[in-house]
């Protein structure tokens, strides 16, 4: 089998989005949030009740999908270790625009309990654009759902544009990412 490059190893063009359907698009996007099933940290324990019968996020049109390609929302559930951050960046870049990031818990904001840990990052927004921050340790399902409601509002009014920021400031993000990921054994740009 010939080695084929499955990734675009070039900088993505600036994505603009708009058009006549803009309003309908935003409306539909807000009501159909597919979450990539990646429990990055301990917050995933509260994602389970959120997505199952007691709280049932599917009411809001959310569901878990197994592959980043089909997902709209990446939930960073709590702290991120360096090792996971590498995978998370990859997952994020494989997601298709428009895409949103929701950070759960105190840890992505300022390190949380693990502010002095040698393996957990302290500020997520240096590495990924985050649209909604929900604090708590862990946020209860009610808080998570309220956070998603907030995300829906943002999308509805067209203000959830973290993905645009990421493309515009890619060099800055990349610099920060490379600062802590020493061994960048990934394609430069992998979407």
């Amino acid at each position: 089998m010939d080695k084929k490059n499955y990734f675009l190893d070039e900088k993505p063009e600036k994505l603009t989005y708009g058009g006549v359907f803009r309003k309908i698009d935003d409306w539909a996007r807000a009501r159909s949030l597919w979450v990539v099933a990646y429990g990055t940290g301990c917050g995933s324990i509260e994602l389970r009740p959120t997505f199952t019968s007691r709280f049932d996020a599917e009411r809001l049109g959310m569901r878990m999908v197994g592959t980043p390609r089909q997902a709209d929302v990446l939930i960073i559930s709590g702290y991120l270790t360096v090792k996971t951050l590498k995978r998370v960046i990859r997952v994020y870049e494989q997601m298709q625009s428009p895409k949103y990031v929701v950070a759960l818990g105190a840890c992505p904001i300022n390190g949380g309990m693990y502010y002095d840990s040698y393996n957990a990052i302290n500020q997520l927004d240096l590495y990924l654009p985050v649209d909604v921050w929900i604090t708590g340790c862990m946020p209860r399902p009610e808080a998570i759902l309220a956070g998603f409601k907030r995300l829906q509002e943002l999308i509805d009014s067209g203000r959830a544009d973290g993905w645009k920021k990421y493309i515009e400031n890619l060099d800055w993000y990349r610099e920060n990412q490379r600062k802590i990921i020493k061994n960048w054994k990934m394609p430069n740009y992998n979407w």
Binding site: K4, Y6, L8, P12, L15, Y17, F21, I24, D25, A28, R29, R31, S32, W34, A37, T52, S53, R54, D56, E58, R59, L60, G61, V65, G66, T67, R69, Q70, D72, Q96, S97, P98, W191
Partner: protein, 302 residues
């Protein structure tokens, strides 16, 4: 002729819409069974629109692009060959002599196209899923073909329309009751076709993420999504025509397809999935055996 095409196109859209709606209903019913409320029944439309309008930046070659189209075309092709309302000038679709065999080929086409495209995507889960899908198809096609052959022999026709006509005259003339074993075999293989749960080995989230469509996103996924729903619709219609006596009116068609739709839903939520080889072995034993009973019966009766 053009008007027929126009009406066929309309029915196609209607079929997609009804398929999506049925999907929504199935999500709602599943949710109720799982003690929760579930999304609105229109959720699938929203999902489809969102997917359709999403950007995509993935490129894995031509086949990759074409596969969802294959899927959609396969679905649409199947759908358009199955008459919805018999005797209706608008809703009988492109029924012609021997179309049953063509339908069965079309059904395979979608899967094959999918297989080609997914293999192109390069994700290791995709080929595994494709292999599974093809093996599975080999599994459920056998009982299905047997039961279709039973019907063809019994009714001495190779058209769907002919089979429908052979069932006219009351509920007891339905093949469901006249050929119960063949019907059972076919309905079991319908579970395989609809990838309902004990036989849901293709997408298998816990095993191979989402299988073949792992790399598909956005618009492609929306094509696959609508392809899948129209495909499902086609199968419901086909089974309605084959076993439930077809439909004399649109309302009847709705009702009967809904009945067919309930069957996989009935099974899918209460069983885990088989392993691939268990699934294939199952199809090659029980339904095949049941189907063969009817085949034997029909051959002996003649």
């Amino acid at each position: 002729m053009w008007s027929k095409i126009f009406y066929a196109f309309l029915t196609l859209l209607g079929g997609i819409a009804y398929g999506l709606l049925l999907g929504g209903i199935s999500r709602k019913i599943t949710a109720r069974m799982q003690n929760r409320r579930g999304p609105t029944v229109w959720q699938n439309f929203i999902d489809l629109w969102k997917l359709f309008r999403k950007k995509t930046a993935v490129s894995h070659g031509v086949m990759f692009y074409l596969a969802p189209m294959f899927r959609l075309v396969g679905g649409a092709g199947t759908f358009l060959l199955v008459p919805i309302v018999i005797d209706s000038p608008y809703l009988s679709n492109f029924s012609f002599g021997g179309d049953l065999i063509v339908i069965m080929y079309f059904m395979v086409l979608g899967c094959l196209g999918m297989a080609l495209g997914a293999a192109e995507s390069g994700h290791p889960h995709a080929p595994i899923g494709v292999t599974r899908g093809l093996s599975q198809m080999a599994g459920y096609e056998l009982p299905f073909v047997i039961s279709v052959v039973v019907l063809m022999i019994a009714d001495k026709t190779a058209t769907v329309e002919g089979i429908v006509r052979a069932q006219q005259g009351g509920i007891l003339h339905w093949h469901l009751f006249t050929h119960p074993f063949a019907a059972a075999a076919a309905f079991i293989s319908l579970l395989g076709m609809m990838t309902s749960y004990p036989f849901q080995v293709v997408l298998a989230p816990q095993e191979i993420a989402v299988g073949p469509p792992t790399e598909y996103s956005s618009t492609f996924l929306s094509y696959m999504f609508s392809g899948r729903s129209v495909f499902a619709m086609a199968k419901y219609l086909l089974f309605m025509d084959l076993f439930l006596g077809g439909a004399g009116s649109l309302l009847e068609a709705f009702a009967k397809t809904f009945l067919v739709f309930l069957w996989p839903l009935f099974i899918t939520n209460v069983f885990p999935r088989f392993r691939l080889e268990q699934s294939v072995r199952f199809f090659w034993t029980w339904p095949t055996f049941i189907g063969l009973v009817d085949l034997l019966r029909i051959s002996l009766m003649r």
